[in-house]
């Protein structure tokens, strides 16, 4: 038994089924912990008062929106390069949750923007590129839904995903490259974060919870896709008959 065993949809289907509850429960527990930090441990911000507490969902959601896209592009690239079935299924399973987090990032951003800048929306480089990310997700999902031929759909959707990857560094560096209204990043890989340690901890816990949630729902979704595509195999027939 080696790692490649799980590249087979049948084995992965069973493994995913066992893992889902673990990811779901740990996502729930981390969310509770993260919310506790966000509302009860993190102090009031001296500039943004209590409104800043929105960042505990806004920032992790924005991170997730970009990261899920990169993971989706990774699976798409693997699928295109090696023609592995499971990779395309993973890419398809990730997209809706990526779109969800992009929407949450934009929505909470608007609710933070209104009290802080006086407007729900600005055509600022950061906001615009994040909106383009939402359109990319929706476009890719629509493309997949529109092409009946599974193999052609997989390839077309993944190709569009790869073209859209260019947008991710644009979002990330937009606050540096352009003079944006959106504030610069407070957390960098190169220098110490410019915020209280407890706030940073809250953001990281929420981001981690977001990851576990994403893994859980993606696995649920990929299992459905596997069952659908493998319905003519003996193992899938056995599962369908058992239910």
């Amino acid at each position: 038994m080696n790692l490649y065993t799980y590249a087979s949809p049948a084995n992965f289907y069973h493994l995913a089924g066992k893992l889902i509850p673990w990811f779901a429960w740990s996502a729930g527990l981390l969310t509770v912990w993260g919310l506790y930090i966000s509302f009860f441990l993190a102090p009031t911000d001296f500039q943004q008062s209590e409104a800043y507490r929105i960042i505990f969902i806004h920032v992790p959601a924005a991170w997730m929106s970009m990261f899920i896209y990169l993971v989706m592009a990774f699976w798409g690239a693997i699928g295109l390069a090696f023609n592995t079935r499971l990779s395309f299924m993973m890419a398809r399973a990730l997209a809706p949750t990526g779109a969800l987090f992009t929407f949450i990032a934009l929505w909470t951003g608007a609710l933070l923007g209104k009290p802080m800048w006086g407007a729900w929306w600005f055509w600022d480089a950061r906001l615009t590129s994040e909106l383009i990310l939402l359109f990319l997700y929706v476009g890719i999902i629509a493309l997949w839904a529109a092409i009946d031929d599974v193999k052609r759909g997989d390839r077309a959707g993944s190709l569009l995903t790869l073209i859209g990857v260019i947008n991710v560094p644009i979002i990330y560096f937009s606050v540096k490259w352009w003079n944006t209204l959106h504030q610069g990043s407070s957390i960098n890989l190169t220098k110490a974060p410019s915020m209280a340690a407890i706030m940073l901890q809250g953001l990281l816990v929420m981001a981690f919870a977001g990851w576990l949630y994403t893994i859980a729902v993606t696995l649920v979704r990929v299992r459905r896709i596997i069952l659908e595509r493998e319905r003519h195999t003996d193992w899938a027939k056995a599962i369908l008959e058992a239910k």
């Binding site: 969902i57 069952l227 369908l240």
Partner: protein, 57 residues
């Protein structure tokens, strides 16, 4: 603890609408995703099973 009372907590120094509007919509969006996922799961199983019975005839 940051809050003197629950009403202060819900008030969020006057930003209650923005803070709770953010958290409520996020919660709703996640709940919708989970519900749709559950429904899609049972729908797919039902449909595949029907197709299977059909093909066996």
């Amino acid at each position: 603890m940051e809050w003197a009372s629950w009403s202060e907590f819900w008030h969020m120094a006057g930003y209650g609408l923005y803070v709770w509007g953010s958290y409520a919509v996020t919660l709703a969006a996640i709940l919708i995703e989970v519900i749709l996922l559950k429904r899609a799961g049972t729908d797919t199983r039902r449909r595949l099973k029907r197709m299977q019975q059909w093909e066996e005839q």
